[in-house]
């Protein structure tokens, strides 16, 4: 058969030379390679003590932000839940009562706000959709491994940013 191109090479099984048959030179070469790795810098990150450096745009665990007075910014508009491609966010809205102005910035607020971390794909679309700059994905926290599936549903207790006053340490 005529070859389609002239680039094909004829493969032939070459008889091994004596040094190749003896294996020992090749073994010595291999030992040299492993010895080189023995003294090489290690790739390990000592995790609990050290953490791998993350990018500035790294998207981790969600946080519900407060405004400068410590009131929750979220107004329970539901845009994040609509934007969410994984349908991880659910919320129920409630009306702010008199005397709760220091807790919630708008008249309407989220009574419950839940993110299912098993569904969440950490795409950051909720962050983009939010008109009140209330939800953000932090760049330094992750959702850690847990034993039960329902422990991955993060409610407001774990999502809302802690008050500044409690952080005066």
């Amino acid at each position: 058969m005529k070859p389609l191109s002239n680039r094909s090479k004829k493969v032939q099984k070459r008889e091994m030379s004596f040094s190749e048959k003896a294996y020992l030179p090749a073994i010595a070469q291999g030992l040299g390679i492993t010895l080189k790795h023995f003294f090489r810098k290690k790739a390990t990150v000592q995790y609990p003590e050290q953490t791998r450096e993350r990018s500035d745009v790294w998207r981790g665990l969600h946080v519900l932000k407060r405004d400068e007075n410590g009131a929750e910014r979220c107004t329970a508009c539901g845009l994040c839940a609509v934007a969410c491609p994984a349908e991880a966010i659910t919320m129920t809205a409630g009306e702010r009562k008199a005397g709760e102005e220091h807790l919630y910035r708008e008249e309407k607020y989220a009574v419950t706000y839940e993110v299912n971390m098993l569904r969440c794909i950490f795409c950051g679309l909720c962050e983009e959709a939010c008109p009140k700059a209330a939800i953000f994905l932090q760049d330094d926290k992750i959702a850690p491994a847990r034993y039960e599936r329902d422990e991955f549903i993060y409610g407001k207790d774990r999502l809302v940013e802690p008050l500044k006053t409690t952080e005066t340490k």
Partner: protein, 355 residues
Amino acid sequence: MESVDLIYKAIYILAIFGVTLLIATYSTYFERKIAAFIQDRVGPNRAGPLGLLQPLADAGKLFFKEDFIPAKSNKALFIIGPGIAMLVAAMSSAVIPFGDTLIIGGHEIFLQAIEVNIGVLYIFGVVSLGVYGLMIGGWASNNKFSLLGAIRAASQNISYELAMGLSLIAVLMLSGSLSLRVIAEQQAGFNWNIWYQPLGFLIFLICAFAETNRTPFDLPESEAELIGGYHTEYGSMKLGMYLFAEYINIFVASAVMATLYFGAYNFPFMLELETWLVDATESAITANNIVTLIGTAVMFAKIFLFIFFFMWVRWTLPRFRYDQLMKLGWQILIPLAILNILLTGGGILLKDYLF
């Protein structure tokens, strides 16, 4: 033998036994550490400083695991198997000279547990018994994989023991003695056997790898095809005993190689050092003791070097195929060993003729 000598001997035997066990224990640690370093990792470093308590943690884990015996197994043999492996491995370090003579209070103590004039034969006899441990364990498990592993271990050990013995004959022709003590004494200074027996050492080294069931000859326990080979059915400390016996065997094999080919406790310029020390300390006894202790340290350094080599090779080479293993043993190593004997014999005759 006086009672004082007897006490010294008893202390020495206990010390050597303890050192053997300690080295075997920490071999597991260094195995993991060296494996990690070769693979660009750091290895165990959580248990204690630098992970040095890791062997204790491992042993504790093994002790507290369920000690089960398979229902259809031969119960007595199943228990005896790891015992034989361990006993035989621990026995073989008895005749190895770890140092020259120490003089304490007028008593000369040779740093060797038992001096027998057939030390080499003793070691080979005892080491070849080790295969009974594997064979009995594999057979008693009543499991096809275990049995296959045990059969592999047996046939491999028989094949390689031949080449090992033949390569050793050349050394015995040079030394004219079967006593490890005499062989060690003949290699005083830098007059090591390796300079006369490079080929013999190479054959011996390869056979030692096969005898201790280490990669690239760890077919008896090849985890990819036989699960765990002869120790598939074993758990808890019985498994621990098998693994431990393997490390003791490595230690003994390293010690034998150091003794037979790398001058045992001898190091270069030891005689010059001793004469210098006699002048410096004005006491022949002190000088002798210092040189002996340095020699013991040198012996252990050589052993550790070989143990490192065993591990280094393990994490470098892939496993042989079984037919390759047999071909290497019967068709290459045994003819080479016979050739080595002929060359050595010719060399000795030539030397007698010329000088």
